[in-house]
């Protein structure tokens, strides 16, 4: 290649690169202003005393100290872990079971798939309001109507501190389990039926086939979905906000809800709100790191 030609080529290449970056620029600007910058701004704001949208004074970790020193923070932290616990207890195995059940059906499979996915499409806010009428403590609450048929007298559900978190998780599971089940179904569909056939010829019962073929095949997927579920339930916010306003007596107050209260609950304390947001982010980062550490170890064994 002669020298001028090479020069021309590299010129064209640079021009192409610049054009490409210009094409990506609008998207990059939006990602920066809506995702990346707010994240750093969040960290910066948590270190400042704020008045309205102004950063007034750098105050180090004072926001963190003042936020974590309050009783409602400890309560919200404990509640958030309680949400996570109940979500794993109620919501982790259920999609696997749903996927297994639907996977076995022949006729009507697409109907079952569609029905199980339907709640996921509904607006989360509408779902919460709908279920609030379901769990209403009045005689006209749907659950009370149904239970009265069985001779059980009307109960109040959302005012009981020990019931409120499991009920919120039940509602979230009703909405989300079907979508997760479809993901498991896709994972299970990649298992070759010949594997089951071969095992059956060797005398493996249906139960054996589930334990030794199906469950091991989805183990990795289950690990990924587990961490995604933890990350998502840890940010639970509008569900308790709408259903119980965090009550009774802060029994369902979540960390993100506490953040919302600091920012938009009247006091407009954006600095303290950001401190809570940063704490939640840190906890999530630690959990993700632990997950990827174990995940890496597992891949080494494979």
């Amino acid at each position: 290649m002669s020298k001028p030609e090479a020069l021309l080529r590299s010129h064209a290449k640079i021009k192409g690169n610049i054009q490409s970056w210009l094409i990506m620029l609008p998207g990059l600007l939006l990602m920066t202003s809506f995702v990346w910058e707010p994240l750093f701004e969040s960290i910066r704001m948590s270190l400042y005393k704020t008045r309205n949208v102004e950063l007034v004074k750098f105050i180090g970790f004072s926001n963190f100290i003042s936020v974590t020193g309050k009783d409602d923070f400890l309560q919200a932290l404990a509640n958030t872990f309680s949400y996570t616990f109940w979500s794993l207890l109620i919501g982790f195995a259920l999609p696997v079971i749903l996927a297994m059940l639907i996977g076995e059906t022949t006729r009507g499979k697409s109907l079952f798939r569609t029905a199980v996915y339907l709640p996921n499409m509904l607006p989360g806010l509408a779902v919460i309001i709908l279920w609030s009428a379901f769990f209403s403590g009045e005689k006209s609450g749907v659950l009370n109507i149904l239970l009265s048929r069985l001779g059980v007298s009307a109960q109040s559900y959302l005012t009981r501190a020990d019931w409120v978190i499991p009920i919120i998780i039940l509602i979230a599971t009703w909405k989300g389990a079907g979508a997760t089940a479809l993901i498991y179904m896709a994972g299970m569909a990649s298992i070759s039926p010949e594997l089951y056939e071969a095992a059956a010829i060797d005398g493996a019962t249906v139960w054996h086939r589930i334990i030794h073929i199906l469950l091991p095949a989805i183990r990795k997927l289950a690990g990924t979905l587990l961490i995604l579920q933890i990350i998502s339930v840890f940010q639970i916010m509008y569900e308790p906000m709408v259903l119980t306003k965090g009550g009774p007596d802060n029994a369902s107050l979540s960390l993100m809800q506490l953040m919302w209260q600091y920012a938009f609950g009247g006091s407009m304390n954006y600095g303290k709100a950001s401190a809570v947001a940063v704490i939640v982010t840190l906890i999530l980062l630690v959990m993700t790191a632990i997950y990827s550490y174990f995940n890496r170890k597992e891949s080494d064994w494979d």
Binding site: G16, N17, Q19, S20, I23, M24, P26, G27, L28, L30, M31, S33, F34, V35, W36, E37, P38, L39, E41, S42, L101, G103, E104, T106, L111, F112, T114, A115, V116, Y117, L118, M121, L122, P123, L125, A126, I129, L130, W131, A133, S140, V142, I145, W174, G178, A179, L182, I183, A186, A189, P193, V206, L228, I231, S232, V242, M256, Y270, S274, T281
Partner: protein, 289 residues
């Protein structure tokens, strides 16, 4: 009748065993029960909408006394829901356009053009998938205030132009397009932007459809940022209206149930039209890339 093959753990010859056959029957019953559980709350809330307030708070029957549509039409006009529907429509259309254009162009850069340094952008986008969106809602709201974009749909539209998941979906799809077609268009003298609009986008109809459906639903259902941004009553979307109802309790319980029905009708219609695309793509969207 076409024979449907079994794809599950239970094989055809297992069905000779009576216990497996009984178990299979049990599975079908459980699946039907699941359908009932998924659909019953929707049926109930619609039925509850037919009740007037007195009946709603006192009746212990799920079936309403009359099936006149009058309560629905009254609530619709009294609360002026038509205005909210229009606002939701404006918000949804702009959001979908932004989702397609901005994420599409960014995905085009990462997946096809691949200029020097694009891999950093790809990594950043992948990382932001892990970042929970609600965490940055405070600074985001402050930015919108500083730019004096409050009470406008523009920030809501633009927020859909910055969706890491949509970018990744575009990139994954673009990477499957044959490089020869894009090369050919370049040799024919098309600029990079022309190639995108004339070649890449027409080939990408399936992924554009999927992203549009999910963006429509997400834009319709979103209420936290819209609630903060759209403070004026004239700009409230259906979901913002519903959220305001739920915080202020100025609305009667029966009208509230009808508002819930109004809020659910468009997603349900969307669902029944596109159920195939939705259930097939729930996997890629659900697992986020």
């Amino acid at each position: 009748m076409k024979k449907i093959l079994r794809t599950g753990v239970i094989r055809e010859y297992d069905m000779h065993s009576p216990s497996v056959k009984a178990g299979y029957g049990f599975i079908i019953i459980l699946c039907c029960l699941m359908v009932v559980l998924a659909v019953f709350p929707l049926v109930w809330v619609t039925l509850a909408g037919f009740k007037n307030l007195k009946e709603f708070v006192s009746s212990t029957s799920i079936i309403p006394q009359s099936f006149s549509l009058e309560p629905f039409t009254t609530t619709w006009s009294q609360l002026g829901i038509a205005r909210n529907y229009l606002n939701s429509l404006i918000s949804v259309v702009g959001s979908v356009l932004c989702a397609l254009v901005f994420n599409g162009l960014l995905g085009y850069g990462i997946g096809i053009l691949k200029p020097k340094g694009h891999s950093i952008v790809k990594k950043l986008v992948l990382l932001s998938l892990l970042m929970p969106p609600t965490i940055s809602i405070v600074p985001l709201f402050m930015n919108i205030q500083k730019l004096h974009l409050g009470n406008s749909f523009v920030p809501l539209w633009l927020s859909f132009g910055a969706n890491a998941m949509y970018v990744i979906l575009f990139v994954q799809f673009f990477e499957t397009l044959p490089a020869s077609i894009i090369e050919a268009s370049r040799i024919d003298g098309c600029s990079q932007l022309q190639t995108f609009f004339n070649i890449v986008l027409p080939l990408s109809k399936p992924i554009c459809a999927v992203i549009s459906i999910f963006a429509v639903n997400a834009a319709w259902s979103d209420f936290l940022l819209p609630y903060l941004v759209l403070r004026g009553a004239d700009k409230q979307t259906v979901m913002v209206r519903l959220f305001v109802f739920s915080t202020e309790q100025t609305v009667n319980a029966d009208a509230m149930m009808r508002s819930v029905v109004f809020a659910m009708i468009p997603p349900i219609i969307l669902f029944f039209i596109f159920q195939k695309q939705l259930t097939e793509n729930a996997v890629s969207v659900g697992i986020k890339g």
